[in-house]
């Protein structure tokens, strides 16, 4: 599709230079730490003398909030596993030679990619039964399980696109070489195409994981007991003191930042490492 011109207007897009990952500089945390620690102390003067300082209150609640955050991580890992598994199948469906499979996989992918995460979460929350009867056994469907299903839907669609994009990005010479060596289509995919795709899929896949982790707080809107819900409950049980709002929400922001920032750094590092030098 590309055609050469003797008047180059633009340089090719430059990739960022490789930085060693995990170079978490102290000053990145500084603004948040300032916000979370100094912020409340500025307003502490307004609160009544007998009430605890915001930091002390936050420290009281921190173990519970951390437990909630771990629950968030459990949700994110489960949804990622489920979404990756189904999404990989869907992505392979998108490159199928059988037209109906290809078209239906494409449609499912586009549908769940275009729908907002929150709407899909609502969808799973309200339309799945709270328990199902299977051969007389009652299998309960707790809220957190429905949240995992709801979050894995958009993950599935995005993974499907990542798989399709990675397969498409391989030069067609790979397919032709495999064909000339008398590999079947299944063998070509499994032994030649997919192993090369893993490298290309890893950075966007990790990016998706980071987005998913940040999306797990959406589950609080539909009432799952994760970190955001617990924060709201903690704030309510402290009597809704306005000086507590900033440190508590700041603390949640900090938790996510500490978890997601290294992942983002690592992704950039992987991207530069696996970059195809042209």
């Amino acid at each position: 599709m590309t055609y050469k011109t003797d008047l180059p207007v633009m340089l090719p897009m430059k990739r960022r230079e490789a930085e060693p990952f995990l170079s978490l500089k102290m000053w990145y945390i500084l603004p948040i730490a300032l916000l979370a620690i100094l912020g409340p102390n500025l307003v502490v003067a307004q609160s009544t003398p007998e009430s605890q300082s915001p930091i002390a209150v936050l420290l009281n609640w921190a173990p519970l909030l951390l437990k909630g955050f771990i629950f968030n991580l459990v949700i994110s890992v489960s949804a990622m596993a489920l979404g990756t598994f189904v999404g990989a199948i869907l992505g392979l469906g998108q490159i199928s030679l059988f037209a109906p499979t290809r078209h239906s996989s494409w449609f499912v992918t586009q549908f769940f990619r275009n729908a907002p995460w929150l709407v899909l979460l609502f969808f799973a929350m309200f339309l799945l039964p709270f328990e199902i009867n299977l051969f007389g056994f009652k299998i309960p469907f707790p809220d957190w399980f429905k949240a995992i299903l709801g979050l894995s839907l958009p993950v599935m669609a995005n993974v499907s696109e990542i798989v399709r994009g990675a397969v498409r990005s391989l030069p067609s010479g790979q397919w032709e070489a495999a064909e000339s060596l008398a590999y079947t289509r299944l063998q070509t995919l499994w032994l030649i195409i997919l192993p090369q795709c893993v490298k290309r899929m890893l950075p966007p896949w990790m990016n998706l994981y980071s987005i998913l982790t940040m999306a797990t707080v959406l589950a609080s809107i539909v009432g799952v007991n994760e970190v955001m819900t617990l924060t709201g409950q903690a704030l309510a049980s402290e009597g809704g003191r306005p000086d507590l709002l900033a440190p508590f929400y700041g603390f949640v922001l900090l938790l996510f930042f500490i978890y997601c920032y290294p992942i983002a750094k690592f992704t950039v590092w992987l991207e530069t490492k696996y970059a195809v030098i042209s």
Partner: protein, 248 residues
Amino acid sequence: MEFVFEWFRTLYQETGINLPFLYDEYDRNRMIDGFFTTIWLSLVCLFFSVIIGIIGAWLQGSAFKWTRRIVNGYIQLFRNTPPLVQLYFFYFAIGTLLPRVENDWGGQSPILGSFAWAAISLSFFAGAFNVEIFRSGIEAVPKSTVEAAEALGFSKLQIYRDITLPLAFRVVLPALNNNLVNLVKTTTLAYAIAVPEMLYEANQIWSDNVNVTEMMFFLLLAYFVLVGVLVGGMNRWERAMKIPGYGG
């Protein structure tokens, strides 16, 4: 139109498929309001996030180390924390620190409402991505082009406005469009602070009519069409703005 509305009322009576936002005028107006609130919120955030992106990218090229560091810190902070928590932080934590004003009924109300906070928070969120996007575009403009503009006596601002930005804009369009589509999807978060957008109004309707299934399917379909139209339009625009000889 009345005929169509009546048909949906009959549909409800015959089959039990309840779509009140089609036959009931009150619910219909709520849904239309919600739809336009979503569009309006998206447009406002789009405008401010692009402004933030342009200014941020310009500041990132600044000679001062600390300007660059602050912009970088802003990007990393907003990219690596959940948008919902950012929204709560802005609305509950910062919103309560601001002074209150007297409203028309003599009561006290916050100086910025939920819509304003949603717009601010989502603009900053999308803006953080836009800074990176614009920066990569500006880096793609060759030095020789800038030098040629300097030789023609353009000022620094003129070079940025008339040379670098228009060229960079075309490079970043695909990434920018991707981000804007994401932004439209993220406006559903405003539901959490009771901005009357489409999800919120749908929630109101299903609370009144107990028709969660129908509303849920309608919502999915509505967002699918809305985002689909947006993606289609953006793709057409991308093709129209393409620089010959650049990109596949």
